[in-house]
């Protein structure tokens, strides 16, 4: 057991810290300020800001740290990747844009794409020159994602896609998208799906914003009406798309970079409790301490998962375990933050007397989605029960 870093890792950390200390001065005035409201998260202004910051990180070599150099990555180590997320959180700096591109579209290309695809698409995913979004879920394919009904048929050297997708975060700002479609309706459910990708300017795509519980429109529903694009825009083999998607989701669930961000959130809620003069209430103290305990436990679970990944070359079963716990943790934290504010918790962004410009209210409402997005808690518990504990499937 050894929590130390190698000299090379420390050098990387110093380089990153140095960079942050210089460039965080260029962040807009509202960033990190409690006494100022920033732009709405679904606004173009916020999107442009995210991409602007991402490109600065990219130009400095801090995006795609573990990704191969030939596709625009840094060719670095998993530990450097971990250090990157640690320092970003520690400095409370903005993270990366193009979350879907970097989270799973890029990894899908890396794992299953052709050499030509990797060369064409990955560098622009990393640089955020091309923003990606995801078309997985459908009205009848939520938790039962393999029930996708959107059809793609081959017509000469083209795919022709018809159907409807939903919960498409950022589709209105994306340049490219990955798409799960049914390509063999006769095959068994998981065996007739393909993982395609397309240019968002392709004719026949209609995007309608869906306002979520917070009132903002981060996600959309999207209609495909005879959308035609080249036949080579498929990742992996035709009809094997389910396995491409499942692998990429696992990648997302195993990411170990959020521990310090959670520690920041615990620090913030403790500060809030003091400001609201609730910190001497023994019940509040118990719940704040419990949040600290949970974030600490999560941190060391993540490090054990990371160790598994470093030793075995792939993420361990801790992924699903950490994920369900982490999501529910955030809901508990945001819920307590609201309670601590008493009647002030009812005041929202734009109101006189709203605490911290209503950011807790937004975070509380946004956190409600945490146990639904990236797989519901129920599905994640099924995964733990069946894949980690080996219980029989129904």
């Amino acid at each position: 057991m050894d929590f130390s870093y190698t000299p090379a890792e420390e050098t990387f950390r110093d380089e990153l810290r140095q960079w942050l200390s210089v460039h965080m001065k260029e962040l807009p005035e509202w960033w990190g300020r409690r006494d100022m409201a920033g732009p709405e998260v679904d606004s173009d202004e916020y999107h442009d800001f995210s991409v602007w910051w991402h490109r600065k990180l990219y130009d400095a070599g801090f995006v795609g740290i573990t990704w191969p150099r030939e596709y625009g990555g840094r060719g670095g180590t998993i530990m450097e990747q971990v250090i990157f997320y640690e320092e970003i959180a520690r400095h409370r700096a903005p993270g990366l844009a193009n979350a879907h591109g970097i989270g799973w579209c890029g990894p899908a290309f890396l794992a299953h794409g052709t050499e030509e695809q990797k060369k064409r698409y990955i560098p622009k995913i990393l640089s955020a020159e091309e923003i990606w979004c995801t078309f997985y879920s459908e009205p009848e394919a939520g938790s039962d994602m393999a029930n996708v009904q959107t059809r793609a048929v081959e017509d000469g050297d083209s795919w022709v896609v018809n159907g409807q997708k939903v919960w498409n975060s950022g589709a209105h700002q994306a340049d490219w998208a990955v798409l799960l479609v049914r390509t063999d309706p006769e095959a068994r459910k998981h065996r007739g799906i393909s993982y395609l990708f397309l240019d968002m300017k392709t004719p026949g795509i209609t995007i309608r914003p869906l306002r979520n519980i917070t009132g903002t429109a981060e996600f959309n529903e999207t209609f495909f009406d005879n959308v035609r694009f080249p036949i080579d825009q498929v990742i992996g083999e035709k009809n094997m798309g389910w396995y491409v998607a499942a692998g990429a989701l696992e990648y997302e669930r195993s990411s170990a970079g959020t521990a310090i961000a959670r520690e920041n959130a615990v620090r913030d809620i403790i500060r809030l409790a003091k400001e609201m003069k609730r910190n001497e209430d023994p019940l509040v103290r118990q719940r704040l301490a419990q949040l600290y305990i949970e974030t600490t436990v999560l941190k060391y679970m993540a490090l054990r998962g990371l160790t598994h990944e470093l030793r075995e070359g792939r993420p361990g079963p801790q992924g699903a375990v950490s994920s369900v716990f982490s999501m529910e943790f955030n809901q508990r934290l945001q819920d307590l933050a609201m309670e601590i504010q008493g009647p002030y918790s009812r005041l929202t962004r734009g109101s006189k007397h709203a605490v911290d410009h209503g950011r807790w209210q937004y975070n509380f409402l946004r956190s409600r989605g945490n146990t639904i997005e990236t797989g519901t808690s129920e599905i994640k518990r099924n995964i733990i029960a069946q894949r980690v504990l080996g219980l029989p499937r129904q």
């Binding site: 600490t296 436990v297 679970m301 129904q394």
Partner: protein, 377 residues
């Protein structure tokens, strides 16, 4: 960065499990619940021969010189097997107090004897109010010439009935604070010392120890006069982490046994483990036990490193493990249904142990408040 057990620790764990499955079956655990001594001298000797008692003592005192984390790995397996007897009292509570505060003569006298399995010891700390704060210490030790005279009653002292020596935490100065507390090595055969075994739910031997003008020589002072509380405070961190390792091992047994049962037990024509209500219960326990494993190994590491965060880590681990073990055992009984509620099935041994361990060295609420104080909430 490498945060998991190393190869040698995994070997230690595997060999400990194999040994205990053979040498400490549940029949022995049950027999010892009603046994006057509460432990098997035969198993005790075998464990000492394997080097377990001296595992974390330096070689110069008859030990193996392994780390506290190694000891935690061993305790995890002992907790899994519910090994009855005074191992933790002797090796952790008393042994580590002597290691930390003893002079050379005391170390030479006691540590090799503990390591060889010859000597059984315990720590007489808590009193009638059950707390583990310095304000809870009321037993007094009054100087008399070069001797000290101890008076008062200690309660919930584990294994005092079989101990050869006790370490008594006593007040040597008036007051209720941390200053003026001293530790004494007391011969269990000393005149005026009376031990009464209390009947417990788990069969653990907890005792009332009465000191009625017990006279001990000045040389029995362990550590500095009036300066004993920092020793106790440090000891409590180590004993708490040791308890957590024990609890985590027990919780893992509960999880694995319940998962196995859910795969086998058929109702409505299918194993009950196919039902989501059962799957999700077990998934929740799995999350908690996985968390317990991570936090216990981390806390044990902080003890080895004498990390400044070790007190916070110990409280974090204890709060988490207290809730986890209790919840795991509660659900363990539920998943086993009627069988889980019987005396014949072993689940109740863990259910009771979880309740007992929950309050040892402070319960979850106590440690959460401690954490609140340490975080300056």
């Amino acid at each position: 960065m490498d945060f998991d057990l190393g190869e040698e620790q995994i070997m230690l764990k595997t060999s400990a499990r194999d040994f205990l499955e053979k040498e400490c079956p549940k029949k022995l655990v049950r027999d010892m619940m009603d046994d006057d001594k509460g432990y098997s001298p035969d198993l005790w000797r075998k464990m000492a021969d394997l080097g377990w008692h001296g595992l974390a003592f330096p070689e110069e005192y008859g030990g193996v010189g392994s780390s506290f984390l190694d000891l935690a790995v061993l305790l995890e397996e002992m907790g899994r097997a519910l090994v009855p007897g005074p191992f933790v009292s002797t090796v952790v509570s008393a042994g580590r107090a002597i290691l930390a505060a003893g002079n050379e003569e005391q170390k030479q006298r006691f540590l090799p004897a503990i390591a060889s399995g010859e000597t059984i010891m315990t720590l007489a700390l808590t009193e009638a109010d059950g707390g583990v704060e310095s304000s809870c210490i009321g037993v007094t030790a009054t100087p008399s010439g070069s001797d000290f005279v101890i008076n008062g009653t200690k309660l919930f002292v584990p294994d005092a009935h079989v101990a050869d020596h006790l370490i008594c935490v006593a007040r040597t100065k008036d007051g209720t604070g941390e200053d003026g507390i001293s530790l004494f090595l007391v011969d269990a055969a000393a005149a005026g010392l009376q031990v009464e075994v209390l009947r417990t739910m788990t069969g653990e031997k907890l005792c009332e120890v009465t000191f009625n003008n017990v006279t001990v020589p000045g040389s029995s002072l362990l550590g500095e006069l009036d300066g004993g509380w920092p020793v106790v405070r440090n000891l409590l961190v180590e004993a708490t982490v040791a308890e957590c390792a024990w609890m985590m091992g027990g919780a893992r047994w509960v999880l694995e046994t319940s998962v196995d049962y859910a795969k086998e037990r058929v109702q409505f024509g299918v194993p009950i483990g196919t039902f989501q209500a059962v799957q999700h219960k077990l998934a929740n326990v799995a999350v908690e036990v996985e968390g317990a494993t991570s936090i216990v190994y981390y806390a044990a590491w902080t003890v080895d490193e004498n990390d400044p965060g070790k007190t916070l880590a110990a409280s974090t681990a204890k709060a988490w493990c207290s809730d986890t073990y209790k919840h795991a055992a509660f659900e363990g009984v539920q998943i086993h249904g009627g069988i889980g509620f019987t005396w014949d099935h072993d689940m109740h041994l863990y259910f009771k142990r979880a309740k007992s361990s929950q309050v040892a060295f402070g319960d979850a609420d106590y440690h959460r408040e401690r954490i609140a104080q340490m975080l300056e909430i």
